[in-house]
Assembly symmetry: C2
Homo-oligomer: 255 residues x 2
């Protein structure tokens, strides 16, 4: 059970024999070779022969990469069922998943390289600067939005969706906040408007304000916002991070 095994096969038969013995094991397998591809499932695709890189991961996620570009040209999400067979002039691999039923078939006319890697990665991935951070920061420090604001609820579920942050201003009016980590577009404005309408119908229109909270708004979206009598407050993921860090320090200081 070596950590790494690599083969530069001299024939398709050799490649097939090697792959067959490992393809069902829980390891990462990389195959470099010339293949054509057919996919059928939610959509359908085909591509004729070309030199590509196939990655089969431990969880049977499958990626077929061209020598350029960020995205795989074909793929199968994790838990696909793998089968391999030796054809007359090719090594065929089928990757099948159910729900939805999708079949990815590779036909390798040539295999240049096979690598098998028994690798482990249990680290925890940490991400900052996402919408969740903005929400957390506003809860910690509502005055970052405006003085006298009180947060009543986050992720408040209403009939037609979820309100990111729900609060009350110093004059007792309800404040509905829609957060965006990027420059906000029209959908964000209309989303906010729907929430304001629903709550407005319940509590009375002039008792409800809607604030789009984002680093920026697209110009058309800003026009729409004004037309719909909504507000905009600039707030960025970076500002959120600063607030969160500050409050973490405070919490630590207490002890």
């Amino acid at each position: 059970m070596e950590k790494i095994t690599t083969v530069v096969p001299k024939s398709l038969e050799e490649a097939y024999t090697f792959l067959k013995s490992r393809i069902h094991e829980r390891m990462v397998i990389i195959v470099v070779g010339n293949c054509r591809v057919e996919y059928e499932g939610r959509a359908a695709s085909r591509i004729s022969e070309g030199e590509r890189i196939l990655i089969i991961k431990k969880d049977k996620a499958v990626l077929l990469h061209r020598p350029f570009g960020y995205e795989p040209i074909n793929w199968q999400p994790s838990s696909s069922i793998v089968s391999i067979s030796l054809q007359k002039d090719s090594v065929r691999m089928d990757f099948i998943r159910d729900r939805p039923h999708e079949v990815l078939r590779l036909e390798f006319r040539d295999i240049f390289f096979i690598g098998c890697y028994r690798i482990e990665d249990h680290a925890v991935f940490e991400m900052y600067g996402c919408e969740k951070d903005m929400q957390e920061a506003i809860v910690l420090e509502p005055e970052a939005i405006e003085d006298g604001l009180n947060i009543l609820e986050v992720e408040k579920k209403i009939s037609c969706g979820v309100i990111d942050v729900y609060g009350m201003d110093k004059d007792g009016r309800i404040v509905i906040m829609e957060l965006k980590k990027d420059k906000a577009g029209k959908e964000a404005v209309l989303q906010l408007k729907r929430y304001v309408n629903v709550i407005g119908r319940e509590l009375g229109k002039n008792r409800v304000r809607g604030i789009l909270v984002a680093p920026d708004v697209k110009s058309d979206a800003f026009k729409l916002l004004k037309e719909l009598n909504l507000e905009f407050k600039r707030f960025t993921p970076k500002m959120a991070r600063r607030i969160i860090r500050k409050h973490k320090v405070k919490t630590i200081d207490k002890y």
Copy 2:
């Protein structure tokens, strides 16, 4: 200039020397090793040490994959600027892109394997069963949607977006069609509503119809559709393919 070169380096120095000499060449490089990662750009992330697979493509698209899962844990889209350096206990690689400015830094504490592949892939990728197919089919055979329908325009640009298919029904009313290849949700309904509003304001509300054309609608979306006085017509990518194939045969028959 071999097509494939692989190395199982005995030291970080060896790995560094090898990588340094090839990392700027137009080839695909795969590195398997133990690294930690920091990313800063639109957001920020960090992950501590773990065994991962790095792929640097010919166009300097960069993918860092864990041994499981479909998605890369960190990445850089094509055209990133690559640099590599030997640190005290690690090989460091920086991948930088501008607009937006983003930095991805990998710190390899251990490198198990390096592979370099000079591969070519010029094949054309063909995809079927996408929204474009539905559009094409409706143009070829408008009666697939309803009798007496006339198509006037596709991809019609209006102030707030693009109308997939724009036509006129047998009674002379404008028909705005929003296509979805999958079960349609609320966004699709709202998208359609926006277009109908805009055109309705121009031509008069009762002169304009909106039809959501999709294989299915989500139940809440259907309610919303009815409330907003819009229509639904079932139409699938498969039905579209059949129509397109039929018309291709006809075209061939002519000659």
